[in-house]
Subunit: 259 residues, 2 copies
DNA sequence: GACGATAATCTCATAATACAAGAAAATGTG
DNA sequence: CACATTTTCTTGTATTATGAGATTATCGTC
């Protein structure tokens, strides 16, 4: 049983939070046990969540996430400036190379792909759209973390040092920081077979108004499709695209504030 | 300003409900006006929703839906039995014909595509995944409605009679009911250019345990790709697929309850 | 179609916490 | 660095969320 949420809004959210990749389906009985709510309270919550479409249930079945989620995802696709601003660049890079191009958001202590296009047949990502990925893995995380201001970066690495060690990014905080230096210098990150063997990943940060990184534009490409000399080119193009997405986001902000 | 929600859970949901296709971005000021909450209350809600990732905001920007939505959509894709059970049939039908195949859920008084595959180049649906569609439009809605028990059906049509009239499905409740008879008889619905000119739609209902329709399996195909004789074939195949999806759902229920 | 078993909802007194107003802090801007 | 704006905190008050137990609805079975 998990930490008690202090107010009813958080308690409601707590219900949704137990629906994870490890456990996609819950019965009321299990939820009572897990969340520690009384029977009437739990059923009240379930009724609200079911009526609003966040959860569904069928006879003899536990509850699962419901159609409201699909609807909200549609709305998000139409409203997320990162997705809207980034789409042309996903097209551009996948047109030029046989690769997968991704827009990845920094989200809590994780990163999350919010949109991707692939021009390669056999590309199956182990972190497809919507599946959170640890910050420490691969070029994408590094491309974001490397550009955090020091005062945020150091505590973050401290909190997640185990992950960085496991990913082979260094055994101490200083070692990890050192590894990020070259990323900051080049402006983008490269990873050779770090997430998937035989696949090279490029990633460059996307910034918000305050110049702090909020997302990453990334290209993954099979080693065989990216001969040595092309690597530099791809890196440059990824960096360029990320810069233009940052600019596009900024111009949207001005459109909004200037209305 | 909209109707006041009675409890805080509904009030929280009310915040999410104002994010619609017509209005994808809101400032706190606008939300206060729209929802009638006091400043601290609204900010408390926004903080909760932002911290949990349901909403995001950037400097100088209003709030929009956030990455939690994307994450939940990923989880839904892995847990929704309709999507899981239906996927092979989307593959099968799009493999056989140059068409778009869809899984559509009945959701409130609307219907909602939750998954689709297309094997046709120029197929752009005006109701893609996640965009709610009126029940009265096209074959899909009819394929569901036609199989509702009379005691649910008649009130439903009464409530939404305007829509049915606008869709040309009949001017009175009886006329609409009459139009549904042939659907019930054949087992599936057909529409010729109803939603999109030049496109034929087929749809057959998917049932839950209690034999009441909950979703629809549908195929849309350009008239030119579906010559007269093939029409019957496609209809039969859609009906067959929907039946097998119904069966697959039932067998999943048994797996669950029998654990 | 009635029965028993399970699941979901209702009632109500109690206690908790959500609320608004104003003040304070934080953030962004010239 | 000071101003203006946005966001969060503090507090007393009143609303409403809660859980125990009873009740009703639903389901599966005979």
């Amino acid at each position: 049983m998990r930490k008690k949420a202090v107010n009813s809004l958080e308690r409601l959210q707590a219900v949704l939070e137990v629906f994870t990749e490890d456990r996609l389906e819950w019965t009321p009985e299990e939820l009572m046990e897990e969340l520690g709510y009384s029977r009437p309270t739990l059923y009240r919550y379930l009724k609200i969540l079911k009526d609003s479409g966040f959860l569904t249930s069928m006879p003899n079945t536990g509850f699962t996430l419901g159609p409201r989620v699909v609807e909200m995802d549609y709305l998000l696709r139409k409203s997320d400036n990162l997705i809207l601003s980034g789409a042309p660049y996903l097209q551009k890079l996948t047109g030029r190379y046989e690769c997968t191009a991704l827009l990845v958001r920094w989200y809590g202590e994780k990163i999350l792909c919010v949109d991707s296009i692939s021009s390669s047949r056999e590309a199956i990502s182990s972190y497809p759209r919507g599946r959170p990925m640890p910050l420490s893995r691969g070029a994408i995380g590094r491309s974001i973390v490397a550009f955090l201001p020091r005062r945020n970066l150091v505590p973050l690495i401290n909190r997640t040092l185990d992950d960085w060690q496991a990913a082979g990014a260094g055994d101490t905080v200083d070692a990890v920081l050192d590894g990020l230096k070259s990323v900051r210098k080049k402006g983008y990150a490269v990873a050779h077979g770090e997430v998937t063997p035989g696949v090279v990943g490029f990633a460059a940060p996307i910034f918000d108004a305050g110049q702090s990184p909020i997302a990453s534009f990334s290209v993954t490409i099979a080693q065989e499709h990216a001969p040595g000399p092309a690597l530099e080119d791809i890196g440059r193009e990824v960096l360029l695209a990320a810069g233009e997405i940052t600019a596009a986001l900024a111009s949207h902000r001005h459109r909004v504030s200037g209305r």
